[in-house]
Symmetry: C3
C-alpha cells in the first residue's frame, strides 16, 4: 500500500482484467487476474470509504463501508435473480452473512488482537446488533419450520409479508440509530482516520471505486461457472464461499484496517452491519424484486444447511461480541467455525 | 380513562355483555360486545392491581399482576381440559407465553420508549428471568425430542415427572425471590403508583375485577367456536392468538401503564413473570389435573410449531432484556417477531 | 474427612476393592465396594490436587483439577475405543460433558449458595468459557446436520478434520489463557487453600492418587455390564449417567470443596474446564486414536439425543454463569435440568 506503487497496481490489474475479459482470454487466466484486480479495487474502495468516513464521523463511516461493501453482492445477486437461479442467490446470501460474521469479523478481531492485547467497543452497539441478528435468524427459521403445511401460493404470500416486515425493521433501525438514539450507539473513543483527499475528491473516488468493484466483480462472476466446473466444485460451495469471500474483499480490507488502528467499533460495524444489511434489506428486496421480474417469486425458505450455518454464525458472534471487548483468541474461534463450515459445505 | 366516564362504560358494557350472553343474541354481536367489555374490565383490574401494588411494594405488585392476569387463562384452560381438548390447551398455553413475551412486553417497551429515551430496570431480575425461561424451553423441548422412542405409558410418566419438577422449580423460585434473595431482585428506583382507593377498598375491587374478568372471559369463549368457524380460522390460530390476546388484556393494560410511568421493572415483571407462571406452574398443574379429571392424562409433548414459537420468543426476549435497559426499537423488534409468528400461524 | 480415619478408609476400601476384583467375588458386591472405594480415592485426589494447587496458584490448580479429574474418563474411553464400542464412547463423552456442566457445577453452586448468599467470579473467564462451549456445540451440531448427504468415507474425513481443528483450538486456548492473557482470566479475590503436605509430597501424592483412581475405575467398569443387565438399564443411560457420575467423583468433591471455601472461580474452572477438555481435547483425540487403533475410525456424528442434551446443558450453563455471580437457586436450576435429562435417558 505504498502510495504510487499501489495506484499503479490498481490501474494495471484493472485494465488487464478488462482486456482479459473482453478479449475472451483463457478462463483460468481471466479468473486469476480478476481475483488480483479485485484485491486492488477493494483496497481503493477501502481507502476512499475511510476518507469519506473521516468527514462523516466513525459510525456513518461504518454504515458507508457496509453499504458500499454490499454493492458487489447486490449486483451479482440481481443478475442471478434475473436468471431465476434462486438457489444460488440463497447460497450467496448465506455465504455473505456467515462470511461477514465469521471471516471478516474473525480476521479483524484476530489481526487487531495480535497488535493490541484487548480491544473495546460500545457495548450498546453490540447488544443491539445481537438482537437484530436474532431477528434475521428468526425470520429465516420460522418460515422453514412452518412451510411443510403450506401451499406454494401461501409460501409465496408468507415470504412477501415477512420480506416487507424485515425491510420495515431495517429502515426503522436506520431511523433509530441515526436519528433518535445516535449518541447511545456511537463509540466514545473515536480516533479519526486520516483523510487521504479533500471531501469532494473523497466522494468522487468513492464513486469511482464502487464502479470499478462492480465491473471487476462482474468479470469475475462471468468466469466462475467454467472455473468451478473445471475444478469440480458444487454450486452451494461456490455461492456460499468463493463468491462471498471475493465479494466481501472490500469489507475485509476496510474492517481489518480499522481493527489495526484500534477502531474495533468501526470494524464490528462494518462486519455485523454488512451482514445485517444483507439479511434484513438485500435478501427481502431480492424477494420483492423476484416477484416483479419473474412469474414465480423467490420464496424465503432457506435449506436446513443454510439456516444451520447462519444460526451457528450468529450464535457464536453474539457470544463473542456481547461484552464489548475482543482479543486474538476470540477472532480465532470465529475463523475456526468458518473453516468447519467451509469443510462441510465443500464435502456436501 | 377519565374517572366517571370509565366506570360508566365498565358497568354498561359488562351488563350489556351479560344480557347478550344470557339472551342468546346474535353470536357475532355477543362476540363484539364481550370484546369491548373485556377491555373495560381488564382496565378496571389493572387499576385495582396497581392500587393494591401501591400498598404491597413494586415487586409484590408485579407478582399480583401476573397472578391476576393469568386468572382468565386458568379458567379457560380448566374448561378445555375438562372437555379433553388437549391440543387447544397446548395452543393457548403457547399463545399465552408468546403473547406475554412478545406482545405485552413489546407493547410496553415500545410505548414506554416513545415517552422515555431509555428505560432501566434491575439487571439481576432480567438475568434470573432468562434462566427460568430457558428452563421452561428445555422442559418443553427435551420431551418432544425424546418422545419418539417412548410408549404412551412412558410418555405420560415422563410428563408427570417433568410437571412435578417444574412446579417444584416454580415454588422454590417464589421462595428465592420473596424470601432468601428479595433485595437482590428488587428495583432500586421505585416510584410508587398512586393509590386510587384505601387498602381495604383496593383489595375488594381487585376481587370484584377478577370476578368480572372471569365472567366476561367465559361469555367470550362461548362465542369463539361459532365466530371462528364463520370467519374460517384454524383452532391453532384461535387458541394461540385470539384467546391469548383477549385473555392477556389485563397484563396489557397493566404492563403498558407501568411502562408509561417509567416503572419498566414492574412491566417486565408482569410480562415475563406471567409467561413464567404459565410455563412453570399453570401448564404443569393442568397436566396433573388432567390425570385426575380424565382417564388419559394430557402429555407435555408440544408440537414442533409450538416449541419453535416459544423458543424463538424466549431467545429474542432474553437478548433484548439482558442488559437491563430498553428503548422503543427493542419493543418494535418484539412486536415484529410476534407479527411474523401470527402470519405463519394464520396461514398453517 | 477427619485425618487418620479418612486415610484408614482409603486404604481399607481400595485394598478390599482390589481383592474383590481379583478374587472374582459376587459382581454386585464388587460393584458396591468399588463405588465406596472410588469416593475415597477421589477424595484423596481432591486433597492432593488442592495441595498442589496451593503451590501452583488458583487457576493452574483449576487446570490441574480438570486434567486429573478426566484421567479416569480417558482410561475408560481408551478401553472402549479399543473394543470398537463407539456408541458407548459417545454416550460417556456426552455424559461427562453434561455431568460436569449440570451435576458438578450445579452441586457446587447449590451447596456454595447455601453457605454464601452470593458468590462472584471473574466475568471474563465465564465469557470465554461460554464461547468455547459454543464452539464445542457447533463442532458436534454441524457434522450431525450435514452428515445426511455424505458417504462413510467423507464422514470419516470430515470427522478427522474437525477433530484436528478442535485440538488446535484447545491447545491455542491453553496458550491464550496461560501465556498471552493470563491476568485477564485470573480471579482477583484468590484465597489460597491450605497445603496438606510439602510441594514434593503433594506432587507424589497427586501421582499416587491418580493411579489409585485409575485402578478403581477399571475394577468398577469391569462390573458395570453385568450389573446393568441384572438391573435392566440401557447402555445409553449407563454410559451417559452411571459412568459419568462415578467417573466425575473427583471433580465433584474438588469443585464442591472449592465452592464451600467461596472460591467459586476455581469451582467453575474445574467443572466447565473439565467439560471443555472432554469436548475439545479428549473426544477429538479418541477420534484420531480410533483411526490408528482400528480399521474403521470413530466418526464425530453424535445422535440427536446426545446433541440435544449437550446443547441444552451448554445453553443453561451459559445463561447462569454469564454474569459472574451465582446463588443457590441457580445451582438448583442446573440440577433440575440434569434430573429431567436423567429421567428421559432412563426411559428411552
Amino acid at each position: 500500500m505504498k502510495g504510487k506503487l499501489f495506484y499503479a497496481g490498481l490501474l494495471v490489474f484493472f485494465i488487464f482484467a478488462g482486456i482479459a475479459h473482453y478479449a475472451h482470454m483463457n478462463t483460468t487466466l481471466q479468473f486469476i487476474i480478476a481475483c488480483i484486480a479485485i484485491i486492488f479495487v477493494a483496497g481503493f474502495l477501502g481507502k476512499a470509504t475511510e476518507s469519506v468516513a473521516h468527514y462523516a464521523g466513525e459510525r456513518m463511516g461504518g454504515f458507508l463501508n457496509a453499504t458500499f461493501g454490499n454493492a458487489a453482492e447486490l449486483i451479482i445477486a440481481f443478475f442471478l435473480v434475473k436468471d431465476g437461479l434462486y438457489d444460488v442467490v440463497k447460497a450467496s446470501v448465506t455465504g455473505a452473512i456467515i462470511g461477514n460474521l465469521l471471516l471478516v469479523l474473525g480476521l479483524s478481531i484476530f489481526t487487531g488482537g495480535l497488535k493490541f492485547k484487548e480491544q473495546k467497543f460500545n457495548v450498546n452497539l453490540a447488544s443491539h446488533n445481537s438482537s437484530l441478528m436474532i431477528l434475521a435468524v428468526v425470520a429465516l427459521f420460522i418460515p422453514a419450520i412452518f412451510t411443510g403445511g403450506l401451499t406454494t401460493k401461501e409460501t409465496s404470500n408468507m415470504s412477501m409479508i415477512v420480506a416487507i416486515l424485515l425491510i420495515a425493521a431495517y429502515l426503522l433501525w436506520l431511523f433509530f440509530s441515526m436519528v433518535t438514539h445516535k449518541s447511545l450507539l456511537s463509540d466514545e473513543a473515536i480516533e479519526h482516520g486520516e483523510a487521504a483527499w479533500s471531501k469532494g475528491m473523497s466522494i468522487l473516488f468513492l464513486f469511482v471505486a464502487t464502479v470499478m468493484v462492480a465491473f471487476t466483480s462482474e468479470w469475475l462472476v462471468g468466469t466462475l461457472e467454467e472455473v468451478t466446473h473445471k475444478f469440480g466444485l458444487s454450486e452451494l460451495f461456490v455461492g456460499a464461499f468463493l463468491i462471498a469471500i471475493i465479494g466481501n474483499a472490500a469489507e475485509h480490507s476496510a474492517a481489518v484496517m480499522m481493527a489495526l488502528k484500534n477502531k474495533m467499533g468501526a470494524a464490528v460495524e462494518i462486519a455485523i452491519g454488512s451482514s445485517l444489511q444483507i439479511a434484513l434489506f438485500v435478501a427481502p428486496v431480492l424477494i420483492l424484486l423476484s416477484f416483479v421480474v419473474s412469474g414465480t417469486p423467490m420464496n424465503i425458505v432457506f435449506s436446513t444447511y443454510e439456516i444451520a450455518a447462519i444460526g451457528v454464525a450468529v450464535f457464536i458472534t453474539k457470544s463473542i461480541t456481547q461484552d464489548g471487548s475482543t482479543n486474538w483468541y476470540e477472532g480465532l474461534l470465529l475463523l475456526i467455525v468458518y473453516i468447519i463450515l467451509g469443510v462441510v459445505f465443500f464435502l456436501v
